[in-house]
């Protein structure tokens, strides 16, 4: 073998080999890597570091030319051939419907990040485990101690339904519009769960949008609150909350599971995980609270978050997206990138509308209860626990430092988590029932 051949082999197997093979691929990979570096930088600057650091690293690794950690093997399959086999393959393969054929893509045996995506994100294990940890971490007493205010958690889903309609009008498909709308719930795991169920190719941009805006809630919400609530109403003191027993909380979860199982079964995995985590926290059995109560909200939640973020980062890669574009042209990828940035913009709109929805219902409660409800707790209907509740408290403290509404605000806050899961579950059920062909 001469030196020139050796050099050629070396270049082919290096990252530069991609440049020689396809300019488009090289360009898209570099673009996504830059995006990954930006997320990593933001994470290192303490903007949601627990999420953005693994997400950024995953994007960089998934797009590194020559590494192929998200490599898929695709083959074409006629629409008449073995539909039952294709149905069975859906769990492990991405099946994309083209004009006359199906494109069936399975991960390469050594594509580590692709397998992480398939095992932990696609199967919904990751988001469900995160919810399990959140359940063990959250206190649902504020919600039950003042049930009237919990309705704010439902009202703050206004952003979801409004942005779903806006996205549809902007040209997104129904399933995409619904997945984008769910950002308005400000709930990361639910957004990932919905996206993997109805629009898996959008899971990356949706995750980035939802977590970016959750981090930006202390910037987004205060101006809206100040605009919609005059200063003197921000200083309203609320009555002390009722005491809630552990028995009542366990009863609440049993009722919740039964109702959700019958009305919105597609939200059940999330709700059951939340319930299980919270029952571990509230059961009062020392063995359980001392062992599971320590592992679930700490170690398990951290592991689930890291693995889910690695899986989500893998979806923002050339190898992953190349399965879903009809033609391997630069325009198709640029169109995806345009959609991704549109998703970021719509996410912001959804957050703003959800906050307005929450505040509107808090005002209604203020009038119904004859001034016993501080309208600021409306901000907390957006289910970013506990950031939006803290925003409510901070805005109240600015006007009068003796006002304490954090506990009251946590009620709508945790109710918002359940509200988002209900709306998302309803959307998933609708798409799977009415438009199953839209889901790859």
């Amino acid at each position: 073998m001469d030196l020139q051949t050796l050099l050629s082999i070396f270049i082919q197997q290096s990252g530069f080999g991609t440049l020689i093979e396809s300019n488009v691929e090289f360009f898209i990979r570099i673009l996504f890597m830059v995006w990954g570096f930006v997320l990593l930088y933001l994470g290192l600057r303490r903007v949601e570091p627990l999420l953005l650091i693994p997400l950024g690293i995953s994007m960089i690794l998934a797009n590194a030319p020559g590494l192929h950690l998200v490599q898929y093997h695709c083959y074409m399959c006629s629409k008449d051939s073995a539909p039952s086999m294709l149905e069975g393959l859906k769990g492990l393969a991405n099946i994309i419907e083209l004009d006359n054929v199906y494109r069936v893509c399975t991960p390469d045996a050594t594509a580590l990040l692709a397998w992480i995506y398939h095992i932990f994100v696609r199967t919904e294990i990751g988001p469900v485990l995160i919810f399990f940890g959140i359940g063990a971490l959250s206190d649902f007493r504020p919600m039950l101690s003042y049930p009237v205010a919990s309705i704010i958690g439902a009202s703050a889903q206004l952003g979801i339904i409004t942005v779903t309609a806006i996205a549809f009008m902007l040209g997104f498909k129904v399933n995409e519009a619904m997945a984008i709308g769910v950002i308005g719930g400000a709930d990361g795991p639910t957004t990932i769960y919905t996206a993997t169920n109805i629009a898996p190719y959008l899971v990356g941009p949706l995750t980035i949008a939802v977590y970016s805006y959750i981090a930006l809630i202390p910037v987004i919400q205060p101006p809206i609150a100040r605009l919609l609530i005059p200063r003197k109403y921000r200083a309203i003191k609320m009555p002390p909350p009722r005491e809630v027993s552990s028995k009542e909380i366990i009863l609440f979860w049993i009722a919740m599971i039964i109702i959700i199982a019958f009305l919105v079964p597609h939200a059940l995995p999330l709700v059951i995980a939340l319930a299980l985590g919270n029952i571990i926290r509230e059961c009062g059995i020392t063995e359980v609270t001392a062992r599971y109560g320590k592992t679930v909200p700490e170690a398990l939640l951290d592991i689930a978050t890291i693995i889910t973020m690695l899986g989500v980062g893998a979806t923002l890669s050339y190898d992953f997206l190349s399965q879903f574009v009809a033609s391997q042209r630069a325009e198709a990828y640029l169109e995806f990138l345009f959609k991704a940035f549109l998703v970021l913009g719509l996410g912001l709109v959804a957050f703003i509308i959800s906050t307005v929805g929450g505040i509107a219902l808090a005002w209604l409660l203020y009038f119904v209860t004859r001034g016993k409800v501080n309208p600021l707790i409306g901000c907390a209907g957006v289910s970013a626990v506990p950031i939006s509740a803290r925003v409510s408290q901070r805005e109240a403290s600015r006007v009068d430092p003796s006002v304490y509404i954090l506990y009251h605000a946590l009620g709508p806050n945790v109710a918002g988590v359940i509200g988002t899961a209900i709306v998302a579950g309803f959307y998933i059920g609708f798409i799977k029932q009415v438009l199953p062909g839209l889901v790859p």
């Binding site: 779903t164 309609a165 009542e248 609440f252 109702i259 009305l263 109710a415 709306v423």
Partner: protein, 115 residues
């Protein structure tokens, strides 16, 4: 199936309404159950207080306490001396207390009702 904007809005509103309905039910339901139970216990206690002080009730109570005492004599005899006085005392007092509690909650109201 073709979905237009109108259908999408209706579906979204349904989802929104469902969120209100479920959150409304599940937050009020446990509180209602706990409060109903609390009220039932309070009502039972009130009834006991109102009906208790009659001569017939006192006699029934004496009969019940005598029956309980007879049981404890039997129970004391059945305990082995080798178990030691502290254990014996502890068990006896525990049984006596639990028996008296049972009388207070169940048997006394029953006698009261019967008379």
């Amino acid at each position: 199936m073709h979905i237009d904007l109108g259908t999408l809005v209706v579906v979204s509103l349904l989802a929104y309404g469902l969120a209100f309905l479920i959150i409304g039910i599940i937050t009020v339901l446990p509180m209602a159950i706990v409060k109903t139970r609390k009220r039932a216990v309070e009502r039972r206690e009130e009834k006991t207080i109102v009906e208790a002080p009659t001569v017939a009730t006192e006699q029934s109570l004496l009969i019940a306490i005598a029956a309980a005492a007879a049981k404890y004599v039997h129970r004391l005899k059945s305990l082995k001396v080798s178990q030691g006085p502290p254990l014996l005392m502890e068990r006896t007092s525990w049984h006596l207390r639990s028996r008296m509690e049972y009388l207070r909650v169940h048997e006394i109201p029953r006698y009261v009702r019967r008379r």
